[in-house]
Every structure is written in structure tokens, then in C-alpha cells.
Amino acid sequence: MKFAAFIVMIWAGTAVAQTESLVTGVSQDDVQITADFTGSDILVYGAVRRDSPAPASPPLDVIVTLEGPSNVVAVRRKERRLGIWVNGPATEVGDVPSYFATASTGPLEQILLPEEDLRHNIGIDRRVRVTKINADAMDFPKYVQALLRIRAAGGVFSSDPRGVRLAEETLFRADFALPANLVEGDFRVRLFLLRGGKVLDVQEQMIDVRKTGIERQLTLMAHQQPLLYGLLSLLMAGIAGWGASEVFRLLRR
């Protein structure tokens, strides 16, 4: 697989006449969400492998993206009708990652050609796609912008144009701080090696984010035995309510 990609790259990259590829790793390939989970630091590192000396120009760039499992998100616009704010038209956007962080050696618009972005879906605005358009919401690009804006304000979408530190055009690292509000699932790390805006190599790594312990037990039970789970919730409520009442009665004596 890697070899095939390597061959394709040589074939496609003859114009630049170079054979540079990535060797990468992540500090951990699983993240366990426990009750006291407060986030996790992920280090993505790598090196550039080359057969011949590095060309003098154009400069080498690296982009690293880290994304959580995707969902479909409905974006609604509020409108003022009869003086009150009501929900107006809505648009559904698919493939919206629950978390998305980009780290790179420079601003994406400077180090990445638009056609390469289009081909590899690197930037967040390339990742999401409008899946369902309400007839009233024909100005859907505004809805996508609003989605990106709200997610960025919530800290789940971020981009750091200085996030990748590249040494001697060979070694690099990117640090990500995963927030505590994680949705479990497969997190995908994608690494892009670029020269002059063109992608030379792409690598992928997976990080398995899973709940463990009581977090996992509760989630499984809620989905597999909902009635039992509901009854257990009530039982807990009943015992706690009765228990507190008894404790206070004893205290008062």
C-alpha cells in the first residue's frame, strides 16, 4: 500500500522531480475517557524521508489535521416575526467532525494550493458538505460559515498556522490538546507533506477514543437495556430522596 502510493507519487511528482515522503507516529493510539477525564495531550511527530538532497526551493511545508467522528448538523437561522425571534429556515450539513484541529507550518491559504485542498479535502471548509437545503435557505454558504463560526467559538474547531515545528526540513512535531468534551469514536490524524503548495505525501493515523469503566457501563446499558436503565435511574432517585429524608430526620433528633 505504502509502496504503491510511493510509486504513484514518483509518477505524479516528476514535474518537481523529487522523492520525499513522510514517516510518522502519534504519542498514543488510544485515549480512555474516565469519569475524571480532563482532556488529553496528543503529540504527532514525524520525519521526511528522501533519497536525494532536499531541493533549495520551494520550501517544505507540513499540515497535520486531527478530527473526531462526524455527524449531520442542522443549522437554523432565527428570524424576527411579529416582534419575536423564531426559528427560520434550516440547512443540514453532513460530515461535520465533532472535533477538528489543524496545525501547519504556515497559513493554509499560503502553503496549500486550492486545487490540492479540493483533491484531499484538507481544510475544514472542504470537509463539511451541505446535504439538505431548505427552499428558504438558498444562501447556504452563510449557514456553513455560521456553523464553522459557532464551532470555532466553542473551541471544537481550531487551526494553528504555527502549530507544526519543522526542524532542518526533516523532523517535525505538532501538539494537540484534546478538550474534555470529547465524543467517543475513531479520531483520525492526517499528515500532508507539501512543497510549493503541492501535496507530496499523505499519511494517516488513527486514535481510538473510548469511554472506560463506569462511563462505558452506563452508556452501554442506556442503549442496550433502556427500560432497565430508566427503572434503575428512578430507583436511584427514590433511594436518594428517601435516604436524605431519613438522614435529616435523624440529624434533627
Binding site: G39, P179, E215, P226, L227, M236, A244
Partner: protein, 306 residues
């Protein structure tokens, strides 16, 4: 100290949750309101997703209501017969309310209708209670210790059939008015996603003429069943009950409810009513302002479930 909530999939501060639970439990024990109309917006505010906030709020209200009822029971503040009649009406009303809710959802704009009904009902109830209790406080001040408590006023209610003796409430009235009130509250509760205590308490005081002493306990008794039903329905239909979140809210809530019901016996009935009126009005004004003010972000996001 942060804690990760498994169903809500957010990490929140442990002490914030205990505090929220305690605050709502306190009000619950004091006024006989379940606190659903408070806990849901508060949970949303700290970042819990709406579905989880509504369902888990209901679970928490079950616990604080049980705690409150047991406290009231010891001072004979629960009219079980009245509670049962209200409950039967309430069940029927909930069923109708769920149907209406589904119909409104199909039409769209359900959340605006929910907010509007909050404003209308909270505003009406809050204003009426405030006016009445302020007047009776003012009157008792002016006339000193003179007690103006009206004797049994006979109204149309006393001419209806199926009369039953509600001993705890000191009433001998037909079961029809309480059953109808229960049903009306059930409809509203299902639509607005709350236990209905803040509607039920004033209705029992002003429409049925029950003494304030038994209103709180009887309301809580009714709320236990309504919110239990809601919790189970949410657990089955949407798996949005977060037991970890509920547990922490409950720990705070049951303690708060005990202090609340203790304080409620120290206050005069009019004082209790005017405080509840102010609380209801405050929530009403908050929701009304949200509807009228230009939001800072005119777009909103919601997950589309597969």
C-alpha cells in the same frame, strides 16, 4: 474538579452540579414546585445538550420530590386523595399533551410555542399570585392581627356531582374540578416538558381553595409520578437520561429539598406565595427577553440524529 458525563458527553465541574441540584431542590422543597422549569435552562447554560437536560432534569425532580413529600408527610401536609384525583386527570392530560406536542413538532416552531406558553402561563400565574399575596400581606399589616380568612365560600363548584370529602384539605367538593385541573396541568406539562408544579400549586390554592399547608406536599406527590413517567419515556425513546449527571444533581437536590421544606414551615403562607410569585415572574421575564432581544448569534446548531 471536573467530571465527565457519559451520556451528555461533556465535562463539567462537580461542585457546580451539586450547587445547581441544591438550589433547585431547595426551591422544590420550599414551594412544592418540581423545579423542572429551572433545572432545564440551568443545565443548558452549563453546556449539557437539550435532550439530556430535559430527561435528566425529570429524573432529578423525582428524587427531590420524594425527599420533599416525605418531609411534608411527617407534618401531615399531603392530601393523598386529592393527589390521586389530580394524578388521574394528569395522566390523561399528559397523554393528550404528548399528542399535541407531536402535532406541533410536525408543524415546526415547537420551541417557540413552548417559550410562548411559558411566558403566557408564568406571566399570568406569577402576576396573579403576586397581586393577591401582596394585597393580603398589606391588609394583614394594616389590620394588625385581625384575621380576614374567608369562611367557606360556596361557588358553582359545590353544586357538581361526585362529591368527595378531602379530609386533609378540609374540602367537600366534586372530584370533577381537581380532575380537570390535573388534566389541564398534564397537557401543559407534557408540552412544556416540566412537572407542572408551578401551575398546579396556584391552581390548588386559588381554584380549589386548598389550604397552603397541604398544597406543597400534594403537588410534590403528584409530580413524583409525572416525572417518573417522563424519565422512563425519555430513557426508552431517546436514551438521554444521564445517570451520572442525575446522581450529582440528586445529591445536591435532596439536601436542598430538606432545607427548603424546613424553611417553608417557618414562613407565613402569604410570604411563601409572594416569593414563589417573584420566582415565577423572574423566569417569565427571562424567557420573554430572550424572545424579544436580538440574539448575538442568529444561527443555531443542533445534531441530526441518524
Amino acid at each position: 474538579m471536573q467530571i465527565y458525563l457519559p451520556i451528555a458527553e461533556v465535562s463539567v465541574n462537580l461542585f457546580v452540579l451539586l450547587g445547581l441540584g441544591g438550589l433547585v431542590g431547595f426551591l422544590s422543597g420550599m414551594f412544592g414546585v418540581g423545579g423542572g422549569f429551572l433545572i432545564t435552562p440551568l443545565l443548558l447554560f452549563i453546556g449539557v445538550p437539550p435532550g439530556v437536560a430535559v430527561a435528566t432534569g425529570a429524573n432529578q425532580v423525582v428524587a427531590s420530590s420524594i425527599s420533599g413529600v416525605l418531609a411534608q408527610l411527617r407534618r401531615k401536609g399531603v392530601d393523598f386523595r386529592m393527589g390521586a384525583v389530580l394524578l388521574l386527570g394528569g395522566m390523561l392530560g399528559s397523554y393528550l399533551g404528548v399528542k399535541i406536542f407531536a402535532y406541533m413538532t410536525a408543524l415546526g416552531q415547537v420551541d417557540v410555542l413552548v417559550q410562548l406558553s411559558y411566558v403566557v402561563f408564568l406571566g399570568f400565574i406569577g402576576a396573579t399570585m403576586f397581586w393577591e399575596s401582596a394585597r393580603s400581606i398589606w391588609r394583614s399589616h394594616r389590620q394588625g392581627a385581625a384575621n380576614l380568612r374567608r369562611a367557606h365560600e360556596h361557588s358553582w363548584m359545590h353544586n357538581l356531582p361526585f362529591k368527595v370529602k378531602f379530609r386533609q384539605s378540609g374540602l367537600y367538593i366534586s372530584v370533577l374540578p381537581p380532575a380537570l385541573i390535573g388534566a389541564a396541568v398534564g397537557i401543559l406539562a407534557a408540552i412544556m416538558g416540566v412537572g407542572g408544579g408551578f401551575i398546579l400549586v396556584p391552581a390548588m390554592i386559588y381554584l380549589l381553595g386548598m389550604p397552603t399547608r397541604v398544597v406543597v406536599g400534594t403537588s410534590l406527590f403528584q409530580i413524583i409520578f409525572v416525572t417518573s413517567f417522563t424519565t422512563i419515556m425519555h430513557a426508552i425513546n431517546s436514551q438521554t437520561v444521564d445517570m451520572m449527571l442525575a446522581f450529582l444533581l440528586i445529591v445536591g437536590g435532596v439536601i436542598g429539598a430538606q432545607f427548603g421544606s424546613r424553611l417553608s414551615t417557618r414562613l407565613k403562607a402569604e410570604q411563601l406565595r409572594i416569593l414563589l410569585a417573584l420566582l415565577v415572574l423572574a423566569v417569565c421575564i427571562k424567557i420573554a427577553v430572550d424572545l424579544l432581544m436580538t440574539p448575538s448569534e442568529t444561527y443555531s446548531l443542533s445534531l441530526v440524529l441518524p
